[in-house]
């Protein structure tokens, strides 16, 4: 089925819903960072904010909704998603290996700077010709799949769970990883019929994360 001819608008709506869900998770970590100023919380808040914002470009890029020739939309999709996933992995890896929090701060800022430079060169192209972001989309999505799967493993170790529900966040990260894997397959083999699947995995993952942060409610007040 050609989804682009059926309901591209529906996918854009799902992208907006994804932004709202990822935004709620980002807000939770931002508020936590205000209470406990640890770099890890700031990095996760930034990661989910970047993921949420770049979700807005996925449907637009996949179905060429804005301007078929506008590489910046594809670049924002590719760069934003990769930055968000890389920040999540970086946070859990630095925590797992008990690295100094200054490392996490410096490394995450360096990653963000690279992402900004990457976007700028697609906004104001240099003299040489830039590759089409879609030409390496599959490779980056596969890399994101591996980073998220690794992050899921690191979270599972970190929670030292006893009950099934303790593994909600690793399960959500695995679902996000599967969505990346599906996008990689779509990009490599052009199986457009499968486009709803990564949306399904993504929304399921973000739904689980929302349930986890919703249980925390407003959290303890910063002024107490």
């Amino acid at each position: 089925m050609e989804w682009s001819s059926v309901a591209p608008g529906a996918f854009v709506v799902l992208d907006v819903v994804s932004l709202a869900l990822a935004g709620a998770v980002a807000l939770f970590f931002w508020r936590t960072h205000r209470l406990v100023p640890d770099a890890g919380y700031a990095v996760l808040a930034s990661a989910f904010a970047v993921l949420g914002l770049s979700y807005l470009t996925i449907g637009a890029s996949e179905f060429d909704l804005i301007d078929p020739g506008a590489a910046i939309v594809d670049a924002a999709r590719v760069g934003g998603q990769f930055l968000g996933v890389a920040l999540i992995f970086l946070n859990y890896a630095s925590r797992f290996f008990n690295l100094d929090r200054r490392f996490l701060t410096v490394a995450s800022r360096a990653l963000a700077a690279v992402a900004v430079v990457y976007l700028v060169i697609y906004v104001a192209p240099p003299a040489f010709e830039l590759p089409d972001p879609r030409s390496y989309l599959g490779t980056l999505r596969f890399l994101e799949f591996m980073l998220l799967a690794a992050a899921a493993g690191l979270v599972a170790v970190g929670v030292s769970g006893r009950r099934f529900a303790d593994f909600a966040v690793p399960a959500a990260f695995l679902l996000l990883a599967v969505s990346k894997y599906t996008w990689a397959m779509i990009a490599w083999f052009g199986v457009d019929d499968a486009v709803p699947l990564p949306y399904l995995w993504r929304l399921a993952a973000l739904g689980i994360l929302l349930v986890v942060v919703a249980r925390a409610g407003g959290g303890p007040r910063a002024e107490a």
Partner: protein
């Protein structure tokens, strides 16, 4: 006192006070020790909590409804962070 310590400390103190409320032999000194705090600093914090209406004026082991609400919020917040593998205790240890 940095805000990070203060936030986690208030939660720990309220949790220990709540636990001590069911113990007839509990004393302020014992709860201060359980919270790993010097007695003087613990007394100061109790005064602060009393001033904010989180514990009763006559019995420091009795949390007010506002204090219980804050304790529940603190526990729910910690639980969410634990599920993310991001416990604030780990953040404290990393310094």
């Amino acid at each position: 006192m940095p805000r990070r310590e203060r936030q986690t400390l208030i939660g720990v103190v309220l949790a220990e006070l709540s636990r001590a409320a069911g113990d007839r032999d509990a004393s302020v000194t014992q709860v201060a020790a359980r919270c790993n705090m010097p007695y003087d600093r613990f007394k100061e914090l109790l005064e602060d909590l009393r001033g904010k209406g989180l514990i009763h004026g006559d019995d420091p082991f009795r949390l007010t409804p506002e204090g219980r609400k804050l304790l529940e919020a603190y526990r729910a917040w910690r639980e969410a962070l634990r599920l993310f593998g991001m416990s604030p205790d780990d953040a404290d240890r990393r310094g």
